[in-house]
């Protein structure tokens, strides 16, 4: 079976604008959810989503399907642009440069991608709910707040080592839950 997103990426590369519309139909709701989670303002979130889809159209040559899904790539753009909106002073790199090195989310990773394909939102939320409150708070601040672990440490009143440890343990536990482990 043809992966719909893979086919959409091919069509966008070929200059088929209607494929952007189909990409929007498939993922706009989640893109909005990601943007809103970061900026907490519906109008700004819509601006972010708009800019992200336009960027996806313009920068499709930067997308590498071998490193991850089109959906993950799109949502990375959304999240980074949303964080840039609320924290314009942060020392970010251009998202496409980061992605081109495979350091972020679009790098292939079977655990997370498989979990997203296999489980619905309720199951994923249940897995996240299994984290301790401190772990969830640290993950939220880091991922949707755009903070480094050192900033998370300051915001939560712990040492950088403790903040890094919370993030590490949170992902280990989340991964174990999603894989059906302990």
């Amino acid at each position: 079976m043809i992966d719909p997103d893979r086919d959409l990426a091919r069509r966008i590369r070929a200059g088929d604008r209607s494929a952007v519309g189909e990409l929007y139909d498939r993922h706009a709701d989640l893109a909005m959810a990601v943007a809103f989670r970061v900026v907490q303002d519906r109008a700004i979130a819509e601006d972010v989503v708009h800019d992200a889809f336009v960027a996806a159209w313009q920068k499709i040559d930067r997308f590498d399907g071998e490193r991850g899904s089109l959906r993950a790539w799109l949502l990375t753009i959304v999240r980074n642009r949303a964080i840039d909106r609320i924290r314009r002073g942060r020392s970010t790199e251009d998202v496409f440069e980061i992605e081109s090195r495979g350091e972020l989310r679009t790098s292939a990773n079977p655990t997370w991608e498989a979990a997203v394909r296999r489980l619905d939102g309720d199951a994923l939320r249940a897995a996240i709910a299994s984290l301790s409150e401190e772990q969830r708070r640290a993950v939220e601040l880091a991922y949707f707040g755009g903070h480094t672990y050192r900033q998370v440490a300051e915001l939560t009143g712990v040492s950088p080592g403790t903040a890094a440890s919370r993030l590490r343990l949170a992902l280990a536990r989340l991964r174990a839950n999603l894989e059906g482990g302990p």
Binding site: G21, H50, G68, V116, A142, F144
Partner: protein, 243 residues
């Protein structure tokens, strides 16, 4: 934590796995982890496995539908001509965004409409009485609505005998026709006539069978025969209410 600026040990790199996976490292620390992974003989499975964890966090969010106009705004920004698209659920003519989309399209078409209007006036001497009726309506300063879409463009004017569509449209395939619709605020479509461009003359003048009052949107679809409700996406649209 680590002393900034020096190479990381394996344990130090592993300790940053969570921050690494969530993109929560400063640039220099991220570069140090990258350098370690590139040169270390150990697999560092935890570090590599952490990459992409954010996709789970995103997928766990409750979906949030955007407002109705966002799709059209995006498509406009990337340069696609605006035409409502089919989607699961309600047919296009029952969706709330149809009048707003039509308004946006009409605004974008206004410059072209003015130029076309001038051209139309220049042709009047050679046109028939129906066209003179259109000209009279335009010249009288009466309300005119620009109509545009993937099939072409034109204007709705109020003639002596009711509303007229005057449009420069693409020909339709043999056996097919254009059907005109008036759609009220609840999304109920009413068929108000059909037309087919004459071969070699794309300028169409078509009389609507009902006045515009009480309707929110005018639209045209391509059908195999006159039908009671549209079976395809509109190829021309115009808003009938001020937005």
């Amino acid at each position: 934590m680590t002393e900034r600026g020096r190479p990381l040990t394996c344990d130090e790199a592993d300790a940053l796995a969570g921050a690494w996976g969530l993109g929560a490292l400063e640039r220099d620390e991220a570069a140090a982890v990258s350098a370690h992974l590139a040169t270390c003989d150990r697999p560092h499975e935890e570090l590599r496995a952490a990459i992409g964890a954010g996709s789970v966090l995103e997928a766990a969010l409750e979906p949030m539908p955007p407002s109705a106009g966002l799709r059209a705004r995006i498509m406009s920004s990337i340069g696609e001509e605006q035409t409502p698209r089919p989607a699961a659920g309600l047919p296009w003519y029952r969706r709330a965004w149809v009048p707003r989309l039509a308004a946006g399209v009409a605004a974008a078409a206004i410059v072209g409409l003015v130029a076309w209007n001038v051209q139309l006036r220049g042709q009047l001497e050679d046109r028939d009485a129906e066209l003179r009726q259109v000209a009279a309506a335009l010249s009288s300063g009466g309300a005119a609505r620009s109509v545009t879409g993937s099939a072409g463009g034109g204007v709705l004017v109020i003639g002596e005998e009711g509303p007229l569509l005057v449009a420069d449209v693409e020909p339709v395939d043999a056996g097919r026709l254009y059907e005109m619709w008036l759609i009220d605020a609840t999304g109920t479509p009413v068929s108000v006539g059909t037309f087919q461009p004459a071969e070699g003359d794309a300028l169409v003048i078509a009389q609507l069978e009902q006045p515009l009052e009480g309707f929110a949107t005018f639209a045209v679809t391509v059908e195999d025969a006159r039908v009671d409700a549209p079976t395809s996406d509109p190829v021309l649209v115009a808003p009938l209410t001020e937005t």
